[in-house]
Symmetry: C2
Subunit: 336 residues, 2 copies
Amino acid sequence: MARALRLILVGFGTVGQTLARQLLARRDEISRRVGRVLVVGVADSRSSASNREGVDLAKVIRSKKRTGRVGELGTPEALELIREVDADVLVELASAGGTDGEPGLSRIGRALNSGMHVVSSNKMPLAVAYAFLMGRARGRDLALKYGACVGGGIPFFEFADACTAADSIRRIDGVLNATSTYVLTRMEQKGISMDEALAEAQGLGYAETDPSMDIGGVDAACKIVILGNHILGKSFSLKDVKGMDGIAEVTAARVGATKTRKKKIRMVATVDTTPRVSLAELPQTDPLAVDGPVQAAKFQCVSSGAKFIGGEGAGGLSTSLAVLRDVLAIGDLERR
Amino acid sequence: MARALRLILVGFGTVGQTLARQLLARRDEISRRVGRVLVVGVADSRSSASNREGVDLAKVIRSKKRTGRVGELGTPEALELIREVDADVLVELASAGGTDGEPGLSRIGRALNSGMHVVSSNKMPLAVAYAFLMGRARGRDLALKYGACVGGGIPFFEFADACTAADSIRRIDGVLNATSTYVLTRMEQKGISMDEALAEAQGLGYAETDPSMDIGGVDAACKIVILGNHILGKSFSLKDVKGMDGIAEVTAARVGATKTRKKKIRMVATVDTTPRVSLAELPQTDPLAVDGPVQAAKFQCVSSGAKFIGGEGAGGLSTSLAVLRDVLAIGDLERR
C-alpha cells in the first residue's frame, strides 16, 4: 500500500473542526483520489494530540466541544509538535494574530525547514513575510499553498493562474472583506447604523466578536498583498499597503446619500505598482458592487481585457473546502 | 536538445492568424516555458502548407493576406495533412460548420486515432460528439482540450475544475453569447431595433456576417452542452438542448418595457439535469446582467454556494490566447 499523506493541523476552531469532519466523512472518496490522508497531529492554542497511526478525529472533535481543548493539559504546544511529529504537511488554520505574523509565521517557517509542505488559511504570516516564506519553500522544492487566505473558498489563485498562462495581469481590484460588504449592504437596505449592522452580522456569524480587522481594512490589506505577490509577482508586505481605509467611519447618512446617487460604497483593495485599500463609490452595475457576504475581484489582463470573479465567500465550510482543495493538490503532487 | 512540440493548425482565419503571430512574437518566452513549439502544418479550407522543420509562419500569414490561401492550390486538404504530417497536436480552429459537427469532427477523430493531442476552438464537434471524442482521447491517454470553445478566453474550465476539486457543482447558468449580449445592450441603451444593433455589431467585428448561430441560440446551446459535460460529468449532445430560444424575436418595444421594470433581457443558457437556452428578464444587479460584448456564468456549488465568473469575452486575440493556454498545458504535460 502506498504511504499515507500525513497532516498536522494547527488551529481547531470552526475551520479546523469542519475540515476534520470533511476528512472523516469523505475518507473513501479522498483515498481513491489521492491516497490515504492521515492526521497525525492536532494542536490548538492550549494543547495537542498526536498519533503516528492517525489521531482519532471524532474523539478530538468531542474533546474540543467538551473541554475547549483538543488534548490534555501539558501536551506539547504547536511548535513542539511540528518538531517532534513526522508529517508531510502542516495545515495552519489559526486566526490571524498580531501584525508581526506570529505565532503562525514561526510554525510555517519551522515546518518548511523540516521539509514539510504547508497549507495555510492564516493570512497574516503570508502578508508580512511572503517573499521570505516562498523563497524558503522553493529552495526546498516544497509547496506552500494559501488558497483559503483569499476569497473564502472562491478559487482566486487557480483562476488567476489560468488568466496568466498565456496573458498577464496588470491590476487587481477586489471587494475582499465579506463582513464589511455585508454590513454596508444592510446599512443600504435598512437605513441602519454601522453598530446595528455589525451586531446583526455577529448574530449571523459573519463577523468576529472583535471585528476591527475586518472593518478596519487590515483583513483586506493582507489579502491584496497576497494577491499582488502571487499574481503580479511582487514582494509586497503588509507595511507597503497605502491608505488602509476601513469602513469604521461610514455613517448611515453617507450610505443613504450614496444610494440616492444610485451608487454603493464598498471597501476596494487594489494592487498594481502598489497595494492599497480605499473606500469607493461604485455604480450599482459594477461587477464589484456585490451585496451580502460576498467577495469579488476584477483582474485587468494586458491583452484580453477585464475578467471578474466572485461569490458567496464566508463561513467555515467554504474556507475548509479551500484548505481541502490545497491538501488534495499536494496529495496529487506527491503521487506523481 | 529536447524534442519540439509539433503542431498542425487547421483553420487560418482571425484566430489562426492571431495565434500564429503570438507563436512568432513570443517564441523565446514559450520556448523557456515548455520547450520549442513548432508549427509543422497549416491548412485552411482550400490549401495547406507543411514542413517537418517548421512552416515559415510569417510567409503563411502574408500568403493568406495576399491570396486568401495558406498554400498553393492543389496542396493536401486538412484531413490528408493530419494523416501525412507527423505531429503531436492538432489545433482545430475552423468555425463551426454544420450541426453534424463536420468537417471538424472527422479531423479531431483522425488526429486522436493517430495519437495526437487535440486543442479545439471549434465547438460544434464537441457539442455533437463530446462523449465519443473524450472516450477516444482517454482510451489513448491523449489530451483533448477546448478552453477556447466557451468564454472567449475567460478560463471557465480551470475555474470550474478548482470549484469541483473539493466540492461539486450542480447547476450552471451562463450568458454565453457575447454577440447577443452586445446587441441587447445597444437596444437598451439606444432604443434601436435588432437589425440596427446587429449592423453596428457587425461593423465592430462582434458579429459574423451571418449572425444566425449567435442570435438563434445555437452558439450558446453548444457552449452549455460542453460546460455540462465537462463540469457536471454529463454526456449531452446538441440535440438534448431544450427550448433553444434565441433573441431574434426580441423587439425594441419589449426591450424598452423590460428596462422600465428595471430589468434586462438576456439569453441565458442553463444546465443541471438538462441543458436549455431561454430568454430571461434579469434584475440589473444580477451577476449575469452584463453589458456589452461580455460573457458571464454562475456556478451553483453544492456545499459552498454560488460563484460567478465573467469578462470581456470576444475577439480573435482572447480566443487565440485561450488556444495558446491549452497548447502550453499540453507542452507542460509532455515535458513531465
